[in-house]
Symmetry: C2
Subunit: 491 residues, 2 copies
């Protein structure tokens, strides 16, 4: 399997694509830019969904569902929003097909919609149009709703998981009686995302806000989490927006406060998507394939029976089943691959490539000796472990692997984070080292644009911590700056 | 709340719509025929999803995800399939909007798709086009995949949950090496659905196959479960299709068997949708609102504190929290409504209308007496129960309610199932009693069509049991018949 698999060194982009396809995560479909998420890939996404959903509910949110289609006129109501999304909208114009005159099937021109419908690229407009009827007074607030859905943005250059015309995501849409409460909600969800990324996906992230250029179309402030990939490029892993009263004004959503006065409602929205699959892959995987953090892995342990003769097969499988049951009794998900159609060596390669955190090999000699062969995916090392204490061993090993993956990624990020003080240094680091670059910025979109034009680097985030709010000179313009920001080339 | 709520007797259709909206289950959206599923309604759908997903996985299936869009030409490949769906397809023709010359926003005619894309009404075509690359030999079979997704069928007359332009569903798509295995799969999934409907939703269903007229477009055989609503109309609650080799042939999906010979792959597909929400409502609910079977209810118990003074409030809420914790320790989901903004009477009405199976009222006098007031939603009765044994009491009460709802629905169906032997009797029963009608049928689509024209009744299913495979005379044509089938008017 690994034979025709590029290394990261040889061709990082090919390595990524090969891995996604050969590890059965996803593939391109017959529809331009739309992917098929294959069963193994989807089971990883389901792990993410479950954990996120649990976190959303623990913070008081409930799920709901809003239409896939948005009337075209809704988009026009929030000026920045339409500006941001108009160029990548899939548009439904007809509602019927008919048999063509020369055979085949064609669009029925008699079934043209009066108003075109946009396949949702995001749901602020249809949701705020709905909220208008849900909200009369402060008693109806807050509304804390999330939606799991597919969305469509007609991207011209697509890559599996990272940028696809259709993708899966969740979008939270909340409504509040005060500005402070809405800001607190947006910040809370950024923190929920960061906690999820670091403790579940083992991806270290930097929290901050976006510059005006990079802000969500229609937002007053965009909070984000940013991760660093192994090739030194940044990846935006989640965003949470404080929308102010923009959508409430566009859709005329007012409420009567405790003081009897009417005001527009305050809003947030926040989302993460199947893009996280790309972040996961590019943070941990290696030239031997996918590497999964145990907290996320669809099965944390795979047991592979090793045998030559028929009677060995039965005995070994019986012992393997015992181990499986013991592990499962502790809540550890285990796959026992007792297929007789594939050799152990083939299975070893398969599960290594698919990133299963721990592999247990078990043969007749192991049974005699009272031992097992335990291999860990993150370090590719293996050791002989006593059969007796296998459950405790695996438990502590899984937690060690989870920790190790985070540490490794954290170390990588630290190594690839450079503070620069001159424009030459900026360009040199960006070209020769990559990663996050910390630099003073004069706060103007013009400077940001010029840096982007010259280097393709963008401001990934403005850090929240006070230590970055220092006085200095802009790395590009030399003008006064009161903020160090984080630059990088990004996915 | 119940004031402007129609009774079933007065106006069944209005009763249904009012209930759906006032119990916060769903509402119509700004997009014709598309609904908004509100948080409470969605949490019921989530209960259904979780239980179904568990059952699918327990029978060896995994989830995956396929594109929302299907190239128009794919539909043309299976003749019956396109015939069945062409008239209700939402068609994407453009991928960009632009600013109009007179202001506003319009479709960019320069961004017309080369081939139109259909928003999936069902995914057989895109999935079988994908399976072609997944299947080479018998070793790649079976493929047992399910997808949770939204689908669009442009219905002209829509009703919340029952018939909407967009709805949510799951669609299983399996591929097999033999006809027998595929048929066994299709039958298995019909049984999974029936088990789910009866034991989880407490809806008695009849299992059977569809006549050729009512078969899924592209299927060789359609298995179904049919339920009977309180107004005597039938509702198709789930279908499972044996697709033969139709889609394998249309998309050229062949495999090499163990014998080295090539053959087309055998297929099934099966699905249930948010339509089940309609079945649930119309099976159990009454003139006081929604009634939920405990197995399904987002929370099975609601606790309402009763108090007048501030110091009572604290004490009562403290005791209520203790009860909540005890019940939750037994895995029973509980909502404690300790809001100080609403009176107990208002809360009683609210939870009655929303169908919460058990309500516990708790006031200072109850605490003195060591009792609680326990009300059950299905019978609308209440009793005083000792505080001591409340957990055991609630546990057995929930299981009794679950059983009672099924029994009640079962009894209703039995009462409304009539065997007829003449055409006059058929019409009389259909008009004056409604329900399922058992009658001999000559097996021809012509007779079926005529019965439908004259009475609007259709063949809901052909029962599987041998007792219905008897010789007789067709109730309409008088011709020989060897099968009693089930007729009804249907949703």
């Amino acid at each position: 399997m690994a034979k025709d698999f590029a290394t990261r060194e040889e061709d990082y982009s090919k390595w990524y694509n090969d891995l996604v396809m050969k590890a059965d995560l996803a593939e391109n479909s017959a529809v331009r830019g739309c992917m098929v998420i294959k069963p193994y890939g989807f089971s990883i996404w389901e792990s993410m969904q479950q954990e996120l959903d649990r976190k959303f509910k623990a913070t008081g949110h409930t799920n709901a569902y809003f239409p896939l289609f948005i009337p075209k006129s809704f988009f026009a109501k929030e000026a920045n929003h339409v500006e941001g999304f108009a160029k990548e909208c899939a548009v439904v114009t007809h509602y019927r097909l008919k048999n063509g005159e020369q055979g085949g099937i064609e669009v029925d021109e008699d079934a043209r919609l009066e108003e075109e419908l946009i396949v949702r690229p995001t749901s602020e407009t249809i949701i705020w149009n709905t909220y208008r009827n849900w909200i009369q007074s402060y008693r109806d607030l807050p509304i804390l709703v999330n939606q799991w859905a597919n969305v469509v943005r007609w991207e011209m250059r697509t890559r599996l998981f990272l940028r696809t015309a259709e993708f899966l995501w969740q979008e939270g849409h909340t409504a509040h009686a005060s500005k402070e409460e809405a800001i607190a909600e947006a910040e809370q969800m950024m923190n929920v995302y960061a906690d999820f990324a670091e403790n579940f996906l083992a991806i270290p992230v930097w929290k901050g806000t976006k510059s005006a250029n990079e802000r969500f179309a229609g937002a007053v402030e965009t909070y984000c989490i940013e991760a660093l990939m192994q090739d030194g490029k940044a990846l935006q892993a989640g965003t949470s927006h404080f929308l102010g009263q923009n959508f409430a004004k566009a859709f005329d959503v007012k409420f009567t406060g405790q003081d009897g006065k009417q005001d527009y409602v305050w809003a947030t929205s926040w989302g993460v998507s199947t893009r996280l699959m790309g972040a996961l892959i590019m943070t941990h995987s290696d030239d031997n394939g996918l590497v999964l953090p145990p907290n996320l892995a669809p099965f944390k342990v795979v047991i592979v029976p090793i045998y030559r003769k028929e009677e060995e097969y039965r005995l070994v499988c019986e012992k393997a089943r015992e181990i499986k049951e013991e592990l499962e009794a502790k809540g550890i998900s285990v796959k026992l691959d007792d297929r007789d159609t594939h050799k152990p060596g083939w299975k070893f390669a398969e599960y290594e490539f698919k990133g299963v955190p721990v592999r247990i090999g078990l043969g007749p000699r192991d049974i005699e000796n009272g031992t097992l062969e335990v291999a860990r995916r993150d370090t590719l090392t293996k050791e002989s472990v006593s059969r007796e204490g296998i459950v405790e061993h695996v438990e502590s090993l899984l937690s060690e692997i989870q920790k190790n993956l985070f540490q490794k990624a954290f170390k990588h990020r630290e190594e690839k984070t450079t503070k620069v003080s001159s424009w030459d240094e900026f360009k040199d680091v960006l070209e020769n080292k990559g990663g996050f670059i910390l630099a003073h910025w004069d706060g103007t979109p013009e400077t940001e644009d010029k840096i982007k034009e010259e280097t393709k680097a963008t401001i990934r985030l403005i850090p929240l911590e006070n230590e970055y709010k220092t006085v200095g000179k802009c790395v590009y313009s030399g003008k006064d700056s009161n903020q160090i920001v984080v630059f990088a080339k990004a996915y």
